[in-house]
Subunit: 223 residues, 2 copies
């Protein structure tokens, strides 16, 4: 696959396309026009054609997109067929929630091991994933492929644990700690999960709706 530099906005839209295509497949839809796809996603057809053109030509004039083929190609672009391996550090509430409810394999990831400091957790398994002592972290990484570390430790240790991870060659971190880990070094990719971004968007939409309601009520009173 030829790799061209793709804008972050396009990359952030790809998972939404993927979800929509899965939904279409489940509903037995096997082809869709850029017009219909756009309508369902709140995007213009030209936006959609432009997004996909970053990766080559998927659609066919007058035919539209083949849903399973497009799904396969987007999954491949996202790296879901590369068999990435992940470890998880910190089996607290959020770590447990991920191990319990988040299906890593659905997204092409193998969660191979988790690490914690609590003696009562070490040596146990959670949903088939073994939990080891954090003391074994370096040794484990030296002997197993680790593409991504999921960081779900308490805030206070986020930075030292990140330093340990990068020191032994882990180059991608999925960060749930709310501590900004801005590029520990130039080789490290950090993806921060900010719950607040999502809550603030919701807050915006609720404010907007309340204002619209108030405006409608004011107009009704005037009439």
């Amino acid at each position: 696959m030829k790799r061209v530099k793709v804008s972050n906005n396009v990359i952030r839209r790809l998972p939404r396309y993927l979800r929509k295509l899965d939904e279409l497949s489940e509903n037995g839809v096997s082809r869709i026009s850029s017009f219909d796809l756009g309508q369902q996603l709140g995007l213009t057809p030209s936006q959609i054609r432009q997004d996909f053109s970053c990766f080559g030509e998927f659609g066919q004039q007058g035919y539209g997109y083949n849903v399973p083929a497009l799904r396969t190609q987007i999954a491949s672009i996202m790296g879901m067929d590369r068999g990435f391996s992940a470890i998880l550090i910190g089996v607290g509430n959020i770590g447990r929630a991920l191990m319990d409810n988040f299906c890593f394999s659905e997204w092409g990831f193998n969660l191979s091991c988790a690490f914690d400091v609590k003696p009562e957790l070490i040596g146990t398994e959670f949903n088939g994933v073994p939990i080891r002592s954090i003391d074994e972290l370096e040794d484990y990484i030296a002997n197993n492929p680790v593409d991504v570390a999921v960081l779900s430790v308490p805030k206070s240790v986020a930075i030292p644990v990140t330093e340990r991870l990068t020191a032994c060659g882990v180059e991608a971190i999925w960060n749930f700690t709310n501590v900004e880990l801005t590029e520990p070094n130039s080789n490290t990719i950090v993806e921060n999960v900010h719950f607040s971004d999502s809550l603030l968007a919701l807050s915006y939409y609720v404010s907007e709706r309340n204002d619209e309601k108030a405006a409608r009520a004011a107009r009704a009173e005037k009439n």
Copy 2:
């Protein structure tokens, strides 16, 4: 405040601006040009000016933006000064993680109550938030302001709990269940938290970096 229809992309960028402005304030920066702000966020200065122009004029030619004033205005646009009230349904791993680590008040929300079905939780408090029986849900909502319900129940009950919430007038749901709750009715606003979107973006960036490394290695071998 005059309210104009703002694109979703702008709304999704506002929390990032907010975080950056907080970081600048912490570092003692009190004014910043659209050029510098753009550089730090990976956006063009004209993009930034365009985003802010949706809400009126914030900057001053040749002076730049006043950091605390801009922060206040964005916070107000996002509804953070409206004193929204939230309840949380489902005190499992993700519910606990939110109650434990997520600072609702920092984002202008008051988390007033949580609900669960487990007898051992009912009547207790978690981080100062009382946990009540889900049987009391309707009664609580009838007697207290509830702007947003945080949905962190098991998947299997996501739809019935949503129906109960909307039936008693809750019009905004922050959905952590991974079940797509697409507009239970036209009055309800649903904000879905998709961890997978974030993991897939990370997966993309790791794939891209691996490909670049492989290309560099191939070139080095040829030379």
